[in-house]
């Protein structure tokens, strides 16, 4: 019985992985706007996990190539009622995301928003996030506003599918 279950589980996993790979291959033929830059601030590889829920986390690599510090203050998107910067925090043994009102990024430094760390939390999503599609988000860094495309990766992805590529 257990062997039969394991075989069924293995077959299911293979099918799911095969579906994931196929969708992944299709998604990135459509657009290649992984990098946006304005006033010495660069946003690369914005992505989120697919979900049908009402909240989602957006991850992105931010690089301050200017000569002065900038402050990440939040974001906006038409797809959600609110977007806030959050950071994972261990409070008494509970790992929870806490709102961070602002995040300074020193001149010449990089700030990576990634799973189990910093993220932009979208609440009140007005539509499901479908794997392979993308949506736009406006990231506010003081007076600088970066409008970038957010790739929707699979529900279990842990990084942007172009992570590690140089743009």
């Amino acid at each position: 019985m257990i062997r039969a279950c394991l075989i069924v589980l293995a077959l299911l996993a293979t099918t799911i992985m095969a579906q994931g790979t196929y969708a992944h291959g299709e998604a990135h033929q459509d657009h290649d706007d992984h990098v946006v830059e304005a006033d010495g601030v660069r946003a690369t590889h914005a992505w989120a996990n697919a979900t049908t829920g009402s909240t989602a986390l957006v991850y992105v690599e931010l690089e301050n190539i200017s000569e002065s510090a900038v402050t990440l203050t939040g974001a906006e998107t038409e797809l959600a009622a609110s977007a806030q910067l959050v950071g994972l925090e261990n409070t008494g043994g509970e790992l929870v995301y806490t709102v961070i009102p602002q995040m300074p990024i020193a001149a010449g430094s990089k700030m990576v928003l990634s799973p189990n760390g910093l993220a932009i939390r979208l609440e009140g999503l007005t539509a499901p996030l479908v794997h392979g599609e993308h949506f736009h988000i406006e990231i506010a860094l003081g007076d600088v506003h970066l409008d970038t495309a957010v790739e929707i990766e699979s529900a279990t992805a842990t990084q942007h599918s172009h992570a590690g590529h140089q743009h």
Partner: protein, 442 residues
Amino acid sequence: MNPLGPLYRAIEWMPIAAQDAVVLLVLLLPALVVGGLVIFGYRPFSLVRAMLWRFRWTNLLFIGLIAVSVGIGVGLIAQERGLRQGTARAADPFDLIVAAPGSEITMLFAAVYLQPSDVPLLSGDTYQSIATAENVSLAAPIAFGDSYNAYPIVGSTPQFVTHMSPALVEGAMFRGHADAVIGSGVDLTIGATFTPAHGVGDAVEHDAHAQFKYTVVGRMQPTGSPWDRSIVVPVEAVWEVHGLANGHAPERADQLGPPFDPDYFPGTPAVLVSAEQLYANYALRAQFQTAETMAFFPGAVLASLHGLMGDVRQVMSVMAVITQVLVTTGVLVGLVILMRLFARRLALLRALGAPSRFVFSVVWSYAATLIFIGAVAGVGVGFLAAAIISRVVTAQTDILVNATLSWPEFHLVAGFISLTVLLALVPAFIALSRPVITDLRS
């Protein structure tokens, strides 16, 4: 994917407890609907009571099998959650760890859970840059490698001891290089002296530091972590014991704690860094994620590990339900055999004019009652199993694990009840299909 996900999303506007209660009811709904349909219009319970009493020992055995199967399954699943919370609670005081580049998991185990590894040291200049960085409120070296009677000895600062235990339960903070503050679970008394052994584990060298003696001067509060079995000493003493400079220039050789002189700083495997604000901790992590240093949040590493455990939990839940259903199927097969003993009485009922549906409802209610009592008793067994396993895990790992059953386990039991009372329709159908005349003559 969680099959209950769509249901949770539909009711996410409710308070959390109300959501869980609704999910419990939805999971029990198939059992309630089937029960309602089967017994609608009849009162089979006096006969069921008589059947339960007539074969009470056999019934107790069936109930016991179901209870143990359900109890151990939910107890183990609760344990996984308890272990996750326990490991995270143990890591709570460690906001940010800075170490030499390498494996975050190795350093997490070494610095937070006191499983020492041979790792490169951070230099005095690096420590200085960490300690003087903007927003740093605590930069405590964590220097491990020695032990006493299997208790790891860790060199650090008075500020670190205060960070781990804001007040001492007895004694006082160390004031001299040979003073030691012990964890709550260390079997030493205030005033006791001991000689550190070089290394940790089976390969310790007991005589390597024979010329040095520490004196216990204080005891920390319980932390629910391996630090309860640690001995914290001034980091200066750890360096001196190993024949190194003690972190301070000769004219300030008696100083304890920061500031350290980079020229006399022999090195430390890790530095615990803390800032008052969460954003500052993230900024410090970004600042010290360099070619020379690695900075990580133990909580983030744990979250990644827990993500993997989340998949294990789902597999465990599936396996638990499969095991429980298999045990219940065995019990139902036993019931089918038991029905042969009841066959003559049931045939008599039908010969006297009892409707087939009444006989069907009697047999189903009998089986469903065994399943329900077994499942409820299983919740009790689950609480007991979770408590016992927690004690064993705590004793084995020094991480305080307080596992107890909660809504996910109750949902699992509710799903089990619904699934198995549907299976209980089978013996009822079999009992009904038996030939009345033959059974009356048997």
